[in-house]
């Protein structure tokens, strides 16, 4: 494609030729002809050689706030120079350049490579894709420009931050709760051997005891002792109202951080953690333990978006049947715009669950972005206080989480209710 300069040069050349012809002036005509020749000669060389792009990331998964090191290797695979080539690596707008630059102007010889290295800061959780790589080939004299892409993407997941949670603050009033895994002498999911039994269809092949099969001729499977772990249920509110506040500080962001931190804390103790995210619909991860579950939970939390208006009662109605008896339930919600929260909490408490409501203060988040008159703020605050008191009266432990408060600090409040 011609640049503005090329268009002006061509138009100028034609104009000079025409004017020169009109006034029979050789200088004008020859100047015009030379300008046209310049364009014609430059049009012989266009495009670039065969470019290969390879991107290396320092990690595929990162925690919010971490730095990502990116290296882009651009190689000229053709037998000719690339000419003046601007290489630009497209990065998600949520990420910020911390060091280096995601672009370079280069002119690679055949077979030559160039490395573009830069560091990105990832301030927001989510699923991101770096790429494609934009290439802009320029004529040396800036007469022609050609834009193209190398469709090379690198996917990256930014997990929510994990905050340290102190054990003392999460101690339950119920004995033997949150004590981690203990082996029971009953068959079930676990790690220690319990007995051999005959294979029944549906048993996983990995449990087949091949030695016993060789010895007896019948398929036998290993049964394990059941690990008695605490099943912990986390219900995260991702409704549209959870977006109140700034991009970095809002109830949903704080909710994801707390859910991730609690999950990390309990999974480290070999407890089973389940996650329910409700907003537009309900996404539920059944309780499980281990690193795989940890990764699943973080991945789910990374992709959470504020949308929908599903009430908590609908969630508890749908899930309470699956909850293990007496297991603790964490509800992370601002409790705004959902009149079913007290009923849902009452229902869970009635079923014998120990319910903790971690409630980011949405009014205070709103104050970060808009000015609320003092009187209105006081009234709204009082309404919220009443709502939380009602929840506490239902038998739940309620935590009023202020925007500037750390998670550990917030959990300390449990004692107050």
């Amino acid at each position: 494609m011609w640049t503005r300069k090329a268009s002006f040069t061509f138009t100028g050349g034609i104009a000079l030729i025409l004017i020169g012809m009109m006034i029979t002036n050789n200088q004008m005509m020859i100047l015009g002809l030379t300008l046209i020749t310049f364009i014609v000669v430059n049009s012989w060389v266009s495009g670039h050689g065969d470019i290969e792009v390879q991107r290396t990331l320092s990690a595929d998964n990162l925690y919010k706030g971490d730095d990502l090191y990116v290296e882009l290797l651009v190689t000229n695979r053709s037998n000719r120079r690339t000419q003046l080539l601007d290489v630009y690596d497209n990065i998600p707008h949520e990420m910020k350049l911390r060091s280096g630059l995601n672009q370079m102007r280069l002119n690679l010889r055949p077979g030559e490579s160039a490395r573009i290295r830069y560091v990105l800061r990832c301030p927001l959780r989510g699923h991101y894709s770096i790429g494609p790589v934009s290439l802009r080939v320029r004529n040396t004299f800036n007469l022609g420009v050609e834009d193209m892409y190398v469709d090379h993407h690198s996917d990256i997941v930014i997990f929510p931050q994990i905050k340290e949670v102190e054990e003392a603050f999460l101690r339950s009033r119920t004995p033997k709760m949150y004590t981690g895994a203990t082996t029971l002498r009953t068959p079930g999911q676990g790690s220690e051997f319990y007995s051999l039994r005959e294979y029944v269809p549906g048993d996983p092949f990995k449990n087949i005891n091949w030695k016993a099969f060789a010895r007896t001729g019948d398929l036998m499977v290993n049964e394990k002792c059941r690990d008695a772990v605490t099943d912990l249920y986390i219900l995260l509110d991702s409704r549209d109202v959870a977006r109140i506040g700034t991009v970095l500080k809002n109830p949903l962001e704080m909710g994801t951080v707390s859910a991730a931190s609690l999950a990390a804390f309990f999974l480290k103790r070999r407890d089973s953690v389940a996650l329910g995210i409700y907003g537009d619909g309900l996404a539920y991860l059944p309780p499980d333990t281990g690193d795989k579950q940890y990764f699943k939970i973080l991945s789910s939390l990374a992709g959470v978006k504020p949308e929908g208006s599903m009430p908590l009662q609908a969630v508890t109605n749908s899930l309470s049947g699956r909850f293990s008896r007496g297991s603790p339930v964490f509800v992370i919600s601002s409790c705004e715009g959902d009149g079913t929260v007290p009923a849902a909490v009452r229902d869970l408490v009635g079923r014998g669950h120990e319910v903790t409501v971690l409630s980011p203060s949405s009014i205070d988040f709103e104050r970060l972005v808009s000015r609320i008159p003092r009187m209105s703020y006081e009234v709204l605050k009082l309404e919220r206080q009443n709502r939380l008191t009602t929840l506490a009266g239902s038998g739940a432990q309620v935590i009023d989480w202020m925007p500037d408060m750390d998670l550990s600090q917030a959990i300390m409040q449990v004692r107050g209710f």
Partner: protein, 400 residues
């Protein structure tokens, strides 16, 4: 985890000291200086070509100074400075050196701090004022004080203004004549796009005005003065300049092609330097120190130098061939048909005039442009480059 991006270890640092893309270092790089020198040479050469074609012995500054001297008396600038008494192009040698010096000084001033610039400008204005009215004030005011009489300056006192006024007028005349050189030099070395634009614009403006004034209708209206203007013949004479033994263009045409090509060399080199320095300036600190960026900047500058030499030479040659293409067409018509009509056409004066010349040149250029679709230039360039370039050493992979 996070830290600065370190310089890459696989790039050797020359002379044990890392090269960077800081402007201070980049301005001393040989490619940048070469481009600036090429641009300056093109500017001076273009100026000399223009003045030798249109100005010398026609409307040059020495003739203007002669007219001025005959009207108001001796011009206070020395003849050796303005080139009076010399013949031909030699009249311009010293003024060009002065213009280059002035342009260079202005470029140098552009790199001083605003405070220093302000002081220099103030000093210049004060000097100019002292030069203009200094002698008058020094004679007139003491005379009034001694005689204790408030009066207007006398004729003899006013005569002291004559020399400085003539001096300033002479300097202004020289400045206008040398404007392309002064502004061009300032633009090239002071990295000013506007100044380069001024230099080109002024040259084109001069050519345009000259073209209009030499238009036969207007020229006849200008009388004696108009007859002094040099106008090039519109009818093409026999070509004497060419390549590989083929005579393609007349010396006049060659001179005009040279002016056009030199304008482009000046423009592209001057703007190129500014463009690359701007790019380097905008790079963040870590990139300026990154040897990879330094290496690529070298590649880009070398490419620019190669293309400036190659493409603009080819442009000149193709223009020459295009201008000589009409004779090829005439020859083809003459030899291929042999009919009476063909002979008449081939001897037709229109074909030798500008119209025929330009149309045949444009026809040739169209054919050359169409070659793009028939000749695989990319492969040709690739072949040439692969033959001329050494393969670089393989880059050692660096792992995180």
């Amino acid at each position: 985890m996070a830290g600065e991006v370190d310089p890459q270890s696989d790039v050797s640092l020359m002379g044990g000291r890392a090269r960077t893309l800081h402007l201070k270092a980049l301005r001393k790089q040989w490619q940048i200086i070469t481009l600036q020198v090429v641009s300056t040479i093109a500017l001076v050469w273009m100026y000399l070509e223009v003045v030798s074609t249109y100005v010398v012995n026609s409307i040059d500054h020495t003739m203007l100074f002669d007219s001025l001297e005959s009207l108001v008396g001796e011009v206070p600038i020395g003849d050796w400075l303005i080139g009076s008494g010399r013949t031909g192009l030699a009249r311009f040698y010293v003024p060009i050196v002065l213009g280059l010096g002035l342009g260079g000084s202005m470029a140098l001033m552009a790199f001083q701090s605003p405070r220093v610039q302000q002081r220099i400008k103030l000093g210049f204005i004060v000097t100019l004022m002292v030069l203009l009215i200094g002698r008058l004030v020094l004679t007139w005011i003491p005379s009034m004080l001694f005689s204790w009489d408030l009066r207007a300056p006398s004729e003899s006192e006013l005569k002291t203004l004559e020399w400085p006024l003539l001096m300033i007028l002479s300097l202004i005349i020289l400045f206008i004549y040398l404007l392309p050189v002064i502004m061009g030099t300032r633009g090239i070395w002071g990295l000013s796009r506007r100044s380069i634009g001024w230099a080109i614009g002024f040259t084109l403006l001069f050519l345009g005005i000259h073209a209009i004034l030499t238009f036969p209708l207007i020229k006849t209206q200008l009388g004696d003065w108009g007859s002094n203007l040099i106008s090039l013949e519109s009818q093409v004479s026999d070509p004497t300049v060419g390549i590989f033994g083929f005579d393609l263009v007349t010396p006049e045409q060659f001179s005009l092609i040279l002016i056009a090509v030199l304008i482009m060399v000046f423009q592209e080199s001057g703007f190129g330097v500014i463009r690359y320095l701007e790019y380097a300036y905008r790079l963040p600190e870590s990139c300026k120190r990154d040897p990879e960026y330094v290496r690529q900047m070298d590649n880009v500058l070398n490419g620019h130098l190669r293309h400036t030499a190659g493409f603009l030479t080819v442009t000149g040659l193709v223009t020459m061939i295009a201008l000589g293409f009409h004779s090829v067409l005439l020859e083809v018509v003459r030899t291929s048909t042999g009919s009476q009509w063909a002979a008449q056409v081939s001897e037709s004066i229109e074909l030798s005039l500008t119209y025929g010349l330009v149309i045949s040149a444009l026809l040739f250029l169209s054919l050359v442009a169409l070659l793009r679709f028939f000749v695989p230039w990319q492969r040709v360039w690739g072949l040439i480059e692969s033959m001329t370039n050494k393969q670089p050493e393989p880059v050692k992979e660096k792992e995180f």
